[in-house]
């Protein structure tokens, strides 16, 4: 099966500038952005809508990982766990569905044109990390599971990421 990259609409410098201005404060007024970039407010609004519809831009509240459990209870926030799964041949779709059914999985990618899946999980407690690992190992079609607990984040760029889903 040949790898076909999904098609996304073309973007230009204006899209880039708007995304950059919204990066740290997605609630910045469109009037201010329009004035700074020397375009109309309607243009900014239209560009943002188009990028959102294409899945290339998300304007979202992010809770701090060290404080999120204060908000949503201890089953949220606190720990980040990477789970890398190698799938048995022909089982990729099945394993992917199994991983997507787990609410702790906040991001899921496949890598090296498969059959490897990488899940970024957000967990409240280390106990939950162990339980989640058990659940993943129990999924049918798994050949190998590797878990890595994030001990320290040295750099985190919330503004640019692989986010456009297929």
């Amino acid at each position: 099966m040949a790898f076909e990259p999904p098609e996304f609409p073309a973007t230009d410098q204006l899209d880039r500038d708007i995304a950059r201005m919204l990066a740290d404060d997605a609630r910045l007024s469109f009037r201010k952005i329009a004035a700074d970039l020397d375009v109309t407010e309607g243009t900014v609004r239209g560009r943002v809508k188009r990028l959102q519809n294409a899945g290339l831009l998300k304007l979202v509240p992010i809770l701090d990982i060290d404080r999120a459990h204060e908000s949503a209870g201890e089953d949220h926030g606190q720990h980040m766990l990477f789970i890398t799964v190698k799938c048995a041949s022909g089982k990729l779709d099945q394993v992917r569905r199994g991983l997507l059914a787990l609410p702790q999985v906040s991001a899921l990618y496949d890598a090296n044109a498969a059959p490897r899946l990488v899940a970024v999980c957000i967990l409240g407690t280390l106990r939950e990390a162990a339980d989640l690992t058990d659940k993943v190992i129990a999924l049918d079609g798994i050949r190998e599971v590797e878990t890595e607990l994030v001990l320290q984040t040295v750099k985190y760029n919330a503004a640019i990421a692989p986010i456009a889903t297929v």
Binding site: R27, L59, V60, P61, I62, A107, L151, Q152, Y156, P162
Partner: protein
């Protein structure tokens, strides 16, 4: 302190129920107006605006724009993990973090203690980055490269805002 305005909260305490409900609405629309959020929750627009500002100022919550790497002129993203010996992994991590095309760097408990997300404009840049990591970065024993192909979920609700 006798000031009991609702937007004030004791230092160090977390979110209360009003904050939680505001965050829930922002999760549906990050740009919802304070007055609109207030109408939905039966609160004044001023209170909502103050709460959002206070959560932001306190580093608890931020409404951000997350944009796909393709908008920024990058064509591919890879997770590159490094096995380190004879040197603290944190030193290697900091060297990598200084690069603009390195989007994030984590220290993990795994066999490859330095894990980073790297963005590239073309395949040549990726090959060069891997070559540099192997040849020029002191202490790197082994490099594992995973080119990210498809994204199946991306729900950014929690992140290390303090970094």
């Amino acid at each position: 302190m006798s000031d009991d305005k609702p937007q004030r909260r004791p230092r160090g305490s977390g979110f209360d129920d009003i904050d939680r409900r505001i965050i829930e609405v922002l999760g549906r629309d990050g740009r919802a107006q304070s007055t609109t959020i207030g109408e939905e929750l039966g609160l004044s627009g001023n209170l909502v605006a103050n709460r959002i500002r206070a959560m932001d100022a306190g580093g608890l919550m931020r409404v951000v724009a997350v944009s796909d790497f393709r908008i920024h002129g990058y064509r591919m993203v890879a997770r590159i993990r490094l096995m380190i010996s004879g040197r603290p992994p944190i030193d290697v991590a900091r060297e990598l973090a200084a690069r603009e095309d390195v989007l994030s760097v984590h220290i993990t408990s795994g066999r490859y203690p330095v894990s980073c997300l790297y963005a590239f404009r073309n395949a040549r840049e990726m090959i060069e980055a891997v070559r540099q990591a192997t040849a020029d970065l002191a202490g790197v024993e082994d490099v594992d490269v995973e080119l990210i192909n498809n994204v199946y979920r991306y729900v950014p609700a929690v992140g290390p805002l303090g970094v």
